[in-house]
């Protein structure tokens, strides 16, 4: 399990796997960046082999890996004091890491794609677009750099910034003249979450009835996604999609563990 320090989801999954008798290891980004040995080779047909020796003498050999779950979002590279050097080092380390992951793609839940390389920054518009494509209703959304005197009907300003947000709606028509960007969202209440694990879905019963969720899960090709819904005049709609949940319930961890084991068995 590859993750950054203090990743609660990775720790829970690791504990669950160990409890099920599986030989599981957590290796953090920090351990990888300080590894005493990193050798990643590609032959002229791009066949890869990787050998890593951590500071605690634990070794990782790409040929021996059965299943890998990637949760690493960044490499701090704090040993580079100069900001420019650190930026370069972070990019270099990430580039090596992605190539390593690509070369062990058969051990991952889903093959890497370009979206995997943009982990730190989700694109809410893309995720909403995917939800609509899958057949789900999403909350009405309106971004504009040209705010009008009043919010659109049944919509509220949602930007958390100090210059707009709720102040805009109540008493700040002058913001029109300041020409500030603002995002409006459909009024909604009663938020509920569902978690997609591979092709399994967990969460609130009302939401689970929606058959389009499975289609979304297949389209996103993500091992773990949280989809938040909120209730509107027209029923529950998707309000937010989180492709890197920091918290998940126990039954979701259990499902992840079972899928991990299946992957391990398959690789054996």
């Amino acid at each position: 399990m590859l993750c950054n320090q203090d990743d609660a989801v990775a720790s829970s999954l690791h504990e669950r796997l160990v409890g099920m008798g599986i030989k599981s290891h957590i290796v953090t980004a920090e351990e990888l960046q300080y590894a005493s040995l990193w050798t990643h080779t590609l032959d002229q047909h791009a066949k890869g082999f990787t050998e890593i020796k951590l500071q605690n003498n634990e070794a990782i050999n790409s040929a021996e890996l059965k299943a890998v779950w990637n949760r690493i979002r960044y490499f701090p590279m704090a040993h580079f004091k100069n900001e420019t050097d650190r930026y370069y080092a972070q990019n270099e380390m990430s580039a090596l890491y992605f190539s390593f992951l690509k070369s062990i793609e058969h051990t991952l839940f889903y093959p890497l794609n370009a979206y995997s390389l943009s982990i730190p920054e989700d694109n809410p518009m893309y995720l909403k677009h995917e939800a609509i494509k899958a057949g789900l209703d999403v909350l009405n959304y309106y971004f504009t750099t040209s705010p009008r005197w009043q919010s659109p009907k049944n919509m509220i300003a949602v930007d958390p910034g100090k210059r707009f947000g709720t102040r805009f709606q109540k008493k700040a028509p002058h913001l029109v003249w300041q020409n500030q960007p603002v995002t409006f969202s459909e009024e909604a209440s009663d938020p509920k979450s569902v978690w997609i694990v591979g092709d399994e879905i967990f969460g609130d019963e009302i939401i689970l009835k929606n058959s389009s969720l499975k289609r979304l899960a297949l389209n996103l090709k993500k091992e773990l996604v949280e989809v938040q819904f909120a209730n509107t005049r027209e029923g529950y709609k998707v309000s937010y999609i989180n492709s890197f949940p920091a918290y998940v319930p126990a039954d979701v961890i259990n499902s992840l563990a079972i899928q991990f084991i299946k992957k391990t068995v398959k690789a054996s």
Partner: protein, 312 residues
């Protein structure tokens, strides 16, 4: 109507703009440096997308744009958004500019029009060895590669391949250099950061620009390893049009499709044994350098493809 985005005076943007003008293809120019003066609205209402861009007092429907050429620099590096320059636009306008850039680029990932190229598809170049694995899937050979922080491994790699170069693993630009005797003395420094080494091949550099269904190949004659920097070493660099064998052309189109990059600059290398290797695929090629040296009309191919879906 096509949309050209970037800095108007930057040669690739300038040439595309001139080509659109010459071909009579209606175009809009999104000047990043003026983004704070534009108005952008994007919405999903009842699951339907609508979007408008206001520039120069006119409003344009984003759903009616046929194609977009994206040649944008990171907006945080625009001179106007830094408060120590004479033309600083102020905090509010800088924030607005950043917001327009972010929302516009996010939208391009979902837009149904033709785009050269979508931002995510450009990411494969963030990791050169990652991209190499995709390149090999298209049928090209890649130079044997070793990324390591261990000097001993580099020594054995060098023994095996005789001549070796090193370069950055990521897309953060570095100059390709040969690992010669003086640099071998500094090898211990790699222990702090794994570094990429590759076998140095003998032969000629060929740059291929794919634009949808058309390609342009250029042979580069230069005595230096990294021909982009020939000038710095007081060396000359001669560029001439080149005819690729049809099998290699097919592979170039295959890479372009595989990487979802209808516009790309492919760095090929033809060895003395007549084998074709591929070093990397540039997702936002500075094609103007090649066009100006060879008269290959890449800019016109770009605007034709954006307008009609064919660059022919």
């Amino acid at each position: 109507m096509i949309l050209i985005t970037g800095i108007p005076s930057e040669p690739p943007v300038e040439l595309v703009t001139e080509a659109a003008e010459k071909a009579g293809i209606p175009y809009l120019l999104f000047n990043q440096r003026n983004a704070h003066l534009y108005q952008l609205s994007l919405s999903y209402c009842n699951n339907q997308f609508a979007g408008t861009l206001q520039m120069g007092g006119r409003e344009y429907d984003l759903n009616k744009i046929k194609g977009i050429y994206i040649r944008m620099m990171d907006n945080s590096f625009l001179p106007e958004v830094h408060n120590k320059v004479f033309n600083y636009i102020g905090e509010d306008q800088s924030q607005k500019s950043a917001s327009i850039h972010k929302q516009f680029l996010d939208w391009t990932e979902t837009a149904s029009c033709r785009i050269l190229n979508r931002p995510w598809d450009m990411l494969s170049n963030l990791s050169k060895p990652y991209q190499s694995q995709l390149i090999a899937a298209a049928g090209f050979l890649i130079p044997p590669t070793c990324v390591t922080n261990d000097a001993k491994k580099v020594n054995s790699f060098k023994k095996k391949h005789s001549r070796v170069i090193f370069k950055s693993t990521s897309s953060v630009r570095s100059i390709v250099k040969e690992l010669d005797a003086p640099r071998m003395k500094d090898l211990h420094r790699i222990r702090y950061l794994p570094t990429q080494f590759q076998e140095k091949l003998n032969g000629i550099n060929i740059r291929v620009h794919v634009v949808g269904d058309v390609l342009f190949a250029t042979e580069i004659e230069s005595a230096v390893i990294d021909y982009r920097y020939a000038g710095r070493e007081n060396e000359e660099c001669n560029l001439t049009s080149f005819n690729l064998p049809s099998t290699i052309e097919k592979r170039c189109f295959k890479i372009s499709k595989l990487l979802n990059l209808p516009l790309c600059g492919i760095d090929l290398f033809k060895t003395t044994k007549n084998e074709y290797y591929c070093f990397e695929v540039n997702p936002s090629p500075g094609y103007s350098y090649y066009q100006q040296s060879t008269n290959q009309d890449i800019a016109t191919a770009i605007v034709k493809w954006l307008d009609s879906g064919s660059a022919k």
